[in-house]
Symmetry: C2
Subunit: 419 residues, 2 copies
């Protein structure tokens, strides 16, 4: 099941191998037939103006002319994610010693409260163009809920494969949409391998796996985080950005989005630096950066930042390229620092992030201390998800400052004791 004649992918023209440059037609292919390198969507953009984008819907579909989707995509049944808040973060800047302007791009405002709604929306649309009837994925949490919700809205079946030891509340939230939620006895690598084995099997002949056979389209969804930051800043690029790194795809695509906006004349050319954030318990890209290596040595993840726990990140080398090309850096932080990062963002800005957001804040602090981030420059940090989904990471005791009788005197005593 590859391309169909009626399929429309907008301005996308073909797939191209990021390793050897070989071309492939737009279909459900994800690795190069020549060298097994990863395939990426290539385009021939027409004229795209700010006015055209601004006249579009208040979702990522305002950027439809820059995505591998049909022109009428906003009228189709997707969750319409995107256009999340870009919040000025003056309190956090002060706490971090940043004197330049600081912003938080808060993707917890998406329909299922993570940036995964963006990539799923693009993959789902491409999958429908390619004739897939079922939306599927391998996931450890955020992606599972995003796929189950998007499939429900489109009237598709969903099949989500996850490790059977996943946190119960992520399972229950995903199960609410009534798709298949299949627990696999094994770790995430086992689940991922199984999904690759399912490609081409009879049972899964009409399954579009968003992060396997639809991966080239899926990855393009992340460009919209970069587009929105630029548009929300008033059609310009910031000096620095700090982005969490799991597969490395989000980082490379924000960079790609900004290069596209620049070449299309939607923003003025502006030198920017791209920084990556990992947890020390899963830091293969950070380690390669520190060691000056081009090759990523896989690790066995052991961190509370489960949404970043990819030990063998597919786009790691490309993330390294983007960081080095822009004079950025990649840092990693301990789980204790991750929790401090979550708390700092919540206390200063009222944004309750998942563990990945804690990683980003904590790495920002570390890179500042190391003199790698410029405290006087305009900086954007990206929060990819919602604290309600990783509540256990910050829970301590019963959460109460105090438990008292219902009397004014008792309240007075609590306040007098301080926090």
């Amino acid at each position: 099941m590859s391309e169909t004649t009626a399929a429309s992918f907008g301005a996308a023209t073909h797939l191209v191998c990021r390793a050897c440059g070989a071309h492939a037609t737009l279909g459900a292919d994800y690795s190069c037939w020549e060298c097994f390198g990863p395939l990426e969507v290539a385009y021939e953009f027409g004229t795209v103006t700010r006015e055209q984008i601004q006249a579009g819907p208040l979702s990522l579909w305002r950027y439809a002319p820059l995505l591998p989707v049909p022109a009428n995509v906003a009228e189709t049944r997707t969750l319409s994610p995107g256009m999340t808040r870009l919040q000025p973060a003056d309190n956090l800047a002060k706490a971090l010693g940043i004197t330049g302007k600081l912003w938080v791009k808060d993707d917890s405002g998406n329909p299922t409260h993570s940036f995964k709604d963006r990539v799923v929306a693009v993959a789902q649309t491409a999958g429908i163009q390619l004739g897939f009837k079922t939306l599927a994925c391998a996931s450890t949490g955020n992606l599972a809920q995003a796929v189950a919700a998007a499939a429900a809205r489109a009237g598709q079946r969903s099949v989500v494969l996850v490790p059977s030891n996943l946190e119960s509340h992520k399972i229950q939230a995903t199960a609410a949409y009534n798709g298949y939620v299949i627990g696999i006895d094994g770790n995430y690598d086992d689940v991922n391998r199984l999904c690759s084995e399912l490609i081409g099997e009879e049972v899964s002949a009409d399954w579009g796996f968003v992060n396997v056979n639809l991966r080239p389209y899926y990855a393009e969804g992340s460009k919209t985080v970069g587009y929105e930051i630029a548009e929300q800043l008033g059609w310009r690029l910031p000096d620095q950005v700090v982005i969490p790194v799991a597969s490395g795809s989000l980082l490379t695509k924000i960079d790609k989005g900004w290069r596209e906006f620049t070449s299309l004349g939607l923003v003025e050319e502006h030198p920017y630096r791209v920084f990556g954030a990992q947890a020390t318990g899963c830091n293969p890209v950070s380690t390669a950066f520190a060691d000056g290596q081009d090759v990523i040595r896989p690790v066995k993840p052991n961190t509370i930042a489960k949404s970043l726990a990819i030990g063998n990140p597919a786009d790691g080398p490309y993330a390294l390229d983007a960081v080095r090309r822009t004079n950025g850096a990649i840092g990693d932080v301990t789980d204790a620092e991750v929790v401090e990062g979550i708390r700092l963002l919540a206390e200063t800005e009222g944004i309750f992030a998942e563990t990945a957001g804690g990683v980003t804040v904590a790495v920002t602090r570390k890179l500042l201390a190391q003199g790698l981030l410029d405290p006087t420059a305009e900086t954007v940090i990206v929060n990819t998800g919602e604290g309600l989904k990783t509540l256990d990471a910050v829970s301590t005791g019963d959460g109460f400052t105090a438990t008292i009788a219902p009397s004014v005197d008792s309240v007075s005593l609590v306040i007098a004791s301080g926090k």
Copy 2:
């Protein structure tokens, strides 16, 4: 601590008693000095145009000229809630037998994922105008998190008082912002009474309780749900709306917002019908409606829809007025029907609502069956919060369709068995 000379409340001119019509100055008063009736904000609106609103920020502050807030409010440090999605809901319409257009106004897209961010933003702003340094509330969940987050962002102290037997995850999420989270040994009525007793006490002299002494301002925030529905429909009103009823404030304020939009010429006059939704385990307004009474007889709540569990709803009589004036109705549904409502919305539209959203969907179905809602009319239903916060309501077993070994054959067996 009442009005200050420097305070600005925009077009708001005074407070007016909804019972006897007496006037009061704009201050931290919430009940009439003559008859103890509830006070409401009154305005003298200038000219407000669609163009002026559309040029405003993508938050509830685009409606600042219609709220008791200063003109520069969008530049102050609030969470900037609002402008949540109005999703077309064709699948749900089909499931419910609605042939007219159906929309879901999904307020789970707010910063802390409930409509409470709106009312807190307005109360917080008024409280700062009135000189309060601390943001406080009595709450059973959504309001607690909204207050703690908003206070953190503004650099204010927060004091949240909740029943000590509240669900642990609501406490932990609220505690993340590092405000005071005080558990009270007692039920919500005890907490509410304690907050009233704290007004004027030394310990709480600078505390603005959003839902007590700032209540007139707080309630105005709910108008923005109505404003947004009208704007998002293309500056027009729907035929019918179904709104969950706790205190009754949201329902009365959506109605107020639509009357204001009509009288200001922002929408054409259009007859609309307002419907209310309660859980049978806390149905004082629904009961009064069914019995043809004007007076609400308090009940002792017993329902899984805890965010609607107000046994003695302050705005109940006004909600009855709005429903009767517009030829609407109020219905109530059992907890089992609430769970079915949550599942139906998730399965058909990919929107995972809290229990209050389940109440609204289930009551919509019931009112259709009773012939009270018109299935051919254009209908909007309001989802006020997020399913992740009331996950226990829909959890069954471990959530898995099946747990299997990582093999293609095992997957094939699960799919062959069906759901």
